[in-house]
Amino acid sequence: MSNDHLAEYRAFLDRVLPADYDGNAREFRTDQKLRREFQAASFDEGWLVPEWPRDLGGRDLELPEALAIRIEGALRRAPRQMCIQATGVVAPAIRALGTPEQKERYLRPTLRGEAWWALGMSEPGAGSDLAGLRTTAVRRGDEFIVNGQKIWTTQADESRWCTLYVRTDPDKPRHRGITCLLVDLDTPGIDVRRIETAGDAVEAFCEVFFDNVVVPVENVLGEIDGGWIVAMSALEHERDMIWINNWLELQRALAPVVARDDLAPHQLERLGRLMGDMEGIRLTGLRSVANRALGIPDALPGILKVFGSEAVQRGAAFSLEVVSADGLARSEQFDEVLESFAATIYGGTSEVQRNIIAERILGLPKEG
C-alpha cells in the first residue's frame, strides 16, 4: 500500500495545525474557530472525503488509502468537525440521491462546514420503530404542508438545514409512505427547543415542532414515498469512522489502566480481554475493508456497531473502576461512562442490531 498519500496528509496536518497542537488536543476541543478553519482547509485540499472524486472535492483515493488517512486524522486527534452528521450522513445521501440542483446547492457548503444539518428522524413515538413516524406532509400544489414533531435531534438549534422524514402517504404500509424532505429550519412554523441532558458528557439534542410548515416540492430528496431508502442508506454511511472511533475511544479509555503498575491478576485478565476487544474491532474493521476492496461479499459491518459500542462501554466502566480503587469515583472516567451510554442506543439499538444479525446475516426468521 502506497504511503505517499499518508505522508502528504501528515505534512498537511503539520502545516495547518497550530505548532503546539500535538499532545494538547484536549485543550483545542472547544476552539470552534480552529475546527471550522480546519474543516474548510481539509475540504479545499481534498482531505475531507478523500475517496470521493476530484470534481466533488475528493482525491479519488482507493478505500484502504482513504481509511489510512482517516485513521491518521483520528490518531492525531485532528480538530473534530462542528457537525459530523452533515458530512457523514447528509452529504453522501445528497450525492447518491440528490438532483443536480440539490448537489450544486448543498454539497460544497455542507462539506466545507458552512451548512450544518440536523437529522429529523426520531419522534416521541418512533425511536427504534422509525417506520412508525407520524409527522405528516400533505401535498398542496407545489408545496408540502408539514405538521408534527421530532425529538433527539442533535444540533437542530445550531443548524440551518434538516433532513426531515415525513409521512406523505398514510394509506401505504408504514415504511412505504415516507419521504425525506430537505428543510430550511428558518421556515416559519418551526420551533426548536434544546433538551437538557443528564450531564455535559451526554451529547446535546433538541425537540423540533412543525406547525403548518411550508416545504417546496423540489426539496424532496430522492422520490416521494421513497424516503425509507434514503434513511437506510444514511445509516450505512460512515460505518468505517464508527469502528475507527470505537477502537480509539477504547484505547483512550484503557490508557489510565495500562499506565498503572498495581493491577491485580483479575484486572490484568479484564484488561487483556478488552485488548482483545480493541484488536478485534480494528481487525474486523480492516477485514471488512479488505473484503470490500477485493469485491468479496462482506457481512462484517453488521457486527461492528454492537461489538464496538459495547466494548467501549465495558472499557469505560473498567477504567472508572480501576481509577476509583481508593473508593472515590473519578469524574473524568465517569464522563466517559456517561458518554458511552448513547452508542448502544442511536443508529439502531444493540437489541435491534442483534435481531438484524440473526435475521439478515444468519437467516433466522422474523418474529411475526
Binding site: 484502504p64 490518531l75 487483556g272 457486527i303
Partner: protein, 351 residues
C-alpha cells in the same frame, strides 16, 4: 509484505500503518484451496467415522492422503517443500477444525511452526506427525511426557520454560489415556526416543509459540463455526409453541452474540497470522489474544449448540458431543483464555 519500519504498536501507540489490510483476507487461490479442503475433509471424516473412533480409537490411514493433497505444506518455507504463509495456513486449519479432523494435523502444523521459529526446520516437516509439548522440563531420551493429541505422533517437539526447543523421535509404545475427553484427539503418554535436534534458549517462549498458538486458534474457530452453524440449522427446523424456535428473540440474541464472538476470534486469528507472517513485533501479543479469544468463542458456540438442541444434544447418537469434546479438549492447550489474557495485558509492562 514486510514493513520493517513499523514499530511494535502497544496499547498506547497505534499507527495508521495498522490500516494494512491485505494479509487479513486469504488470496483467492487459498480461499479455493480451503473450500476444497472443506469438501474433502467432510468426505473423509463424516460423523459416522468420528463416532466409530469413540469405540475403536483414531487411525492414521488417512494421513498420507492429507499430506499428498498438500494440506500439511501450507505455511512451510519453499526450501522444505512448502508454499504460502501462516496467513494462508489458518484458512486450511479452520477447515480442519470445522471437520473435527481426527488426525494430528493442527498440532503437527503447530509443532512444525515452532521448529521453524527455533531454526530447526527439516525436510520432512510436511509429512511427519508431530506432537508439541510446551512447559517440558528436563525432557530427555527415555523420559515420558504427556502429549496433546499424541496417539498417532512419530516425533515430539518440546519447549522448555526457558525456551529451549528440542525435536525427539518417539519410542513405538504410546499409551493413550483411558478416559479421553476427545478420543479423536486424545492425550497420550509418550516415551521420548533419540533427540534429533536442539536449539538453546534464545527468543522468549511466547515468541517461539506464537505461530503454534495461531494454528490452534484457527482450529478452534473452525470448531466454533461448525457448532454455531449446526445450532442455527436446528433453530431453523425445530418448532415449539407453533413456530420455529429460531424466530424467538431470545434465541436470536444468543446466536447473534455467539456469531459476534466467533468473528472477533476469526479477526484476531487473521491479525495474529499476518503479524507472524510479516515478522511483526505485534505477533506475540496478537497470538496470545487470538488463542484466548478463539478458546472462548469455541466453548461458547459448543455450549450454545448444546443448549439449543435440548436433551437431544446430550445423547451419544447426536453429533453434538463430538464438537463439545473437541472444544473442551483443545481450549486449554497452549494456555487457556484467562491465562493468556493476563499474559497479553502483562506483555511489555514492567513486571
Amino acid at each position: 509484505m514486510t514493513d520493517s519500519t513499523v514499530e511494535a504498536s502497544t496499547p498506547a501507540s497505534p499507527s495508521a500503518e495498522e490500516a494494512a489490510w491485505s494479509s487479513l483476507v486469504p488470496s483467492e487461490e487459498i480461499r479455493e484451496f480451503a473450500a476444497t479442503a472443506r469438501e474433502q475433509f467432510a468426505t473423509l471424516f463424516p460423523s459416522s467415522v468420528l463416532h466409530a473412533m469413540h469405540h475403536d480409537g483414531p487411525r492414521a490411514d488417512a494421513w498420507d492422503g492429507v499430506v499428498e493433497q498438500g494440506y500439511t505444506s501450507i505455511g512451510l518455507p519453499e526450501e522444505f517443500g512448502g508454499l504460502g504463509t501462516v496467513a494462508d495456513l489458518v484458512a486450511v486449519l479452520e477447515e480442519a477444525g470445522r471437520a473435527l479432523v481426527p488426525l494430528p494435523l493442527t498440532v503437527s502444523a503447530a509443532a512444525a511452526q515452532t521448529l521453524l521459529a527455533a531454526g530447526l526446520g527439516h525436510g520432512d516437516l510436511a509429512s511427519t506427525r508431530t506432537g508439541l509439548v510446551p512447559r517440558a522440563s528436563a525432557a530427555a531420551p527415555g523420559s515420558t511426557v504427556s502429549v496433546f493429541d499424541g496417539a498417532l505422533v512419530d516425533e515430539i517437539v518440546t519447549v522448555s520454560p526457558d525456551g529451549e526447543v528440542s525435536r525427539f523421535a518417539v519410542v513405538a509404545e504410546r499409551r493413550v489415556e483411558d478416559r479421553a475427553i476427545d478420543p479423536t484427539r486424545a492425550t497420550a503418554e509418550v516415551t521420548l526416543g533419540e533427540r534429533l535436534a536442539s536449539a538453546p534458549p534464545g527468543a522468549p517462549v511466547d515468541d517461539l509459540l506464537a505461530a503454534a498458538r495461531v494454528c490452534v486458534a484457527a482450529d478452534l474457530v473452525g470448531v466454533g463455526a461448525l457448532s454455531l452453524q449446526a445450532g442455527i440449522e436446528h433453530a431453523l427446523v425445530r418448532e415449539q409453541f407453533g413456530r420455529l424456535i429460531g424466530s424467538f428473540q431470545s434465541i436470536k440474541h444468543l446466536i447473534a452474540d455467539t456469531h459476534v464472538g466467533l468473528e472477533r476470534a476469526r479477526s484476531l486469528v487473521a491479525g495474529a497470522a499476518a503479524a507472524v507472517a510479516d515478522g511483526s513485533p505485534n505477533a506475540r501479543r496478537l497470538s496470545l489474544l487470538a488463542k484466548a479469544g478463539s478458546a472462548e468463542a469455541a466453548l461458547r458456540a459448543t455450549n450454545l449448540r448444546t443448549q439449543l438442541l435440548g436433551a437431544m444434544g446430550l445423547t451419544f447418537e447426536s453429533d453434538n458431543h463430538l464438537a463439545v469434546r473437541r472444544a473442551q479438549q483443545t481450549a486449554p492447550f497452549l494456555g487457556g483464555a484467562a491465562d493468556l489474557y493476563v499474559r497479553a495485558a502483562s506483555d511489555g509492562r514492567p513486571s
